[in-house]
């Protein structure tokens, strides 16, 4: 681990939609958990039978209530094991390790208005942010898009507290969010935040750009689960070892399993912490991150091992 972990106990598990489970965690030592701000995530370390999973989950509980943390986990269709582990294996009273909260999706303190856009499980970071916003004087609105009523997680919670500030969009009723209408006429100093499926994030970024929004006012977060792919081999130059990367584990996970530590924060291709230099490459890097620029991708000198892979005869990393 690159950061000290905290041991927590699961104190409640609730099925909030057909696909989403809600977990409440408290420190095994008792007392308060570390303070965090809305938009933060934790890494949950899960010791499965075959391997260790480390997945990022946004904290959805109130930053003002530190006696427990809450996360929500969506069951992934092609789970590599993490969401499956939390959905099917763990039970109340089990212990997990978590890393300290890190915020890569914080609210802009100077903003004059906040527009939050959530798709499905992407609601989670906003639930914590709403706790912060509710105490402030800056106007805000939440636009929440889900498949159908039964998939709308935490709606009851939102409905009572944020009724006038939430707009719901149900796919099965044909209600779609009109991004153009939403972003065309916002006052100076507005910030937009989006968390949801990749397509939704792209739409928001593109629409904002087409209306002249500068990058500094557009915020998004999406944790990519590391995609599965073909096996490949990598040589770590400084450690002088070869590592075989199997299809359903990430490059980072395989490097860690070989006993080499790589600094990381998000494990989802966002934060840039695990940025690693590529020393030799005979083949192709398969970039899946949101961090490297188009230029950095083409030069092939860098890789984000948390989500990216390679199709190469030879790959040497500066690790």
């Amino acid at each position: 681990m690159s950061a000290q972990t905290i041991t927590v106990e699961i104190t409640s598990i609730a099925q909030v939609t057909p696909l989403i489970k809600h977990f409440r965690l408290k420190a095994t030592t008792g007392g308060y958990l570390p303070a965090f701000s809305g938009g933060s995530h934790i890494i949950v370390v899960m010791r499965g039978q075959k391997r260790i999973h480390r997945n990022p989950y946004s904290l959805l509980s109130s930053p003002n209530r530190l006696e427990h943390y809450e996360i929500a986990v969506r069951r992934m269709d092609e789970s590599r094991g993490g969401s499956h582990f939390l959905h099917d294996v763990v039970k109340i009273g089990d212990q997990l390790e978590i890393a300290h909260p890190v915020n890569l999706f914080g609210l802009e303190k100077q903003a004059r208005k906040h527009i939050l856009i959530a798709g499905g499980i992407g609601i989670t970071p906003f639930l914590a942010q709403l706790e912060d916003l509710r105490c402030g004087e800056v106007p805000y609105e939440l636009h929440y898009s889900v498949r159908s009523h039964e998939h709308a997680a935490f709606l009851q919670h939102l409905g009572t507290r944020e009724a006038t500030r939430v707009s719901m969009y149900y796919d099965n009723e044909g209600a779609t969010l009109n991004f153009e209408e939403l972003l065309a006429k916002q006052p100076l100093g507005t910030h937009v935040y989006v968390c949801g499926p990749a397509g939704m994030i792209t739409r928001v970024i593109d629409t904002a750009r087409s209306y002249g929004w500068p990058n500094s006012h557009v915020h998004w977060e999406q944790f990519n689960a590391p995609p599965v792919g073909d096996a490949f081999d990598v040589f770590l130059a400084r450690s002088k070892i070869s590592v075989h990367v199997v299809p359903d584990q990430s490059l980072l996970e395989c490097i860690e399993a070989a006993g080499v530590e790589v600094p990381y924060l998000c494990r989802g291709g966002v934060c840039g912490f695990c940025h690693t230099r590529v020393l030799e490459l005979d083949g192709e890097l398969l970039h899946h991150d949101h961090y490297l620029s188009a230029n950095e991708r083409t030069t092939g000198k860098s890789i984000m091992p948390c989500v990216s892979r390679a199709k190469a005869k030879r790959l040497v990393l500066d690790l």
């Binding site: 100076l188 100093g189 002249g212 929004w213 500094s216």
Partner: protein
């Protein structure tokens, strides 16, 4: 002198048109009209006139006095631009008040261009900051006087139009003018120059023209 390489000292670059913007606000003072005319020429082909607003200050006798270039020529050239909504002011306060009203009604997608003496840019930026305009929404070109607004860190008074390395504040302290700049106050910091050895002052020199 005391201080060099202070990071807060603003850096200005020649103005150019930012095509990623949708609406454009141009603010100029004195010879600052010239860079604005250049940007307007660049915009002309692609930006509808209704999306451009210009506010220009001419003939200001006190606070801001252009020392370089020929103001009357730029004024004539600017008044000849009839295609954009243009308002001309003869004092800074009215121009800034008008900019505040303009910003209140403005939308995301707006770009701000400021050209003029440094103190004018600072005051315009101070308002831009209130509207949370970030660095990627603002461009500024310094032209004209480098005279500074100086904030006394002891009594908090602001002295305008400081052109010398030391200046006497309203509180009677002699202040050394630092490069340390506050965007919030739109002023450079002035610290007592002879606090350690009363009466021992550096030679007064004109440095901000």
């Amino acid at each position: 002198m005391l201080i060099t390489g202070i990071k807060s000292k603003p850096i200005y670059t020649p103005l150019s048109f930012d095509a990623s913007g949708r609406y454009h606000i141009l603010l100029g003072a004195g010879v600052g009209a010239n860079p604005l005319l250049r940007v307007l020429a660049e915009m002309k082909k692609t930006v509808p006139q209704s999306m451009i607003h210009a506010r220009v200050l001419f003939k200001n006798a006190s606070a801001i006095e252009a020392t370089a270039g020929n103001v009357s020529e730029s004024e004539l050239a600017f008044r000849a631009v009839e295609t954009v909504e243009l308002r001309v002011f003869n004092n800074v306060a009215s121009l800034l008040a008008d900019f505040h009203i303009l910003a209140t009604g403005s939308l995301m997608g707006t770009r701000l261009y400021v050209a003029g003496p440094e103190s004018f840019i600072g005051l315009a930026m101070q308002i831009a900051l209130q509207f949370n305009l970030n660095q990627d929404e603002i461009r500024a070109e310094e032209c004209g006087s480098l005279a500074r607004r100086v904030f006394c860190i002891h009594c908090r008074a602001i002295t305008d139009e400081v052109v010398t390395n030391i200046v006497k504040c309203a509180c009677q302290r002699w202040l050394l003018v630092r490069d340390h700049y506050s965007r919030r106050l739109a002023a450079y910091m002035g610290v007592m120059a002879d606090a350690e050895a009363p009466g021992e002052l550096p030679e007064m020199r004109e440095v901000f023209r």
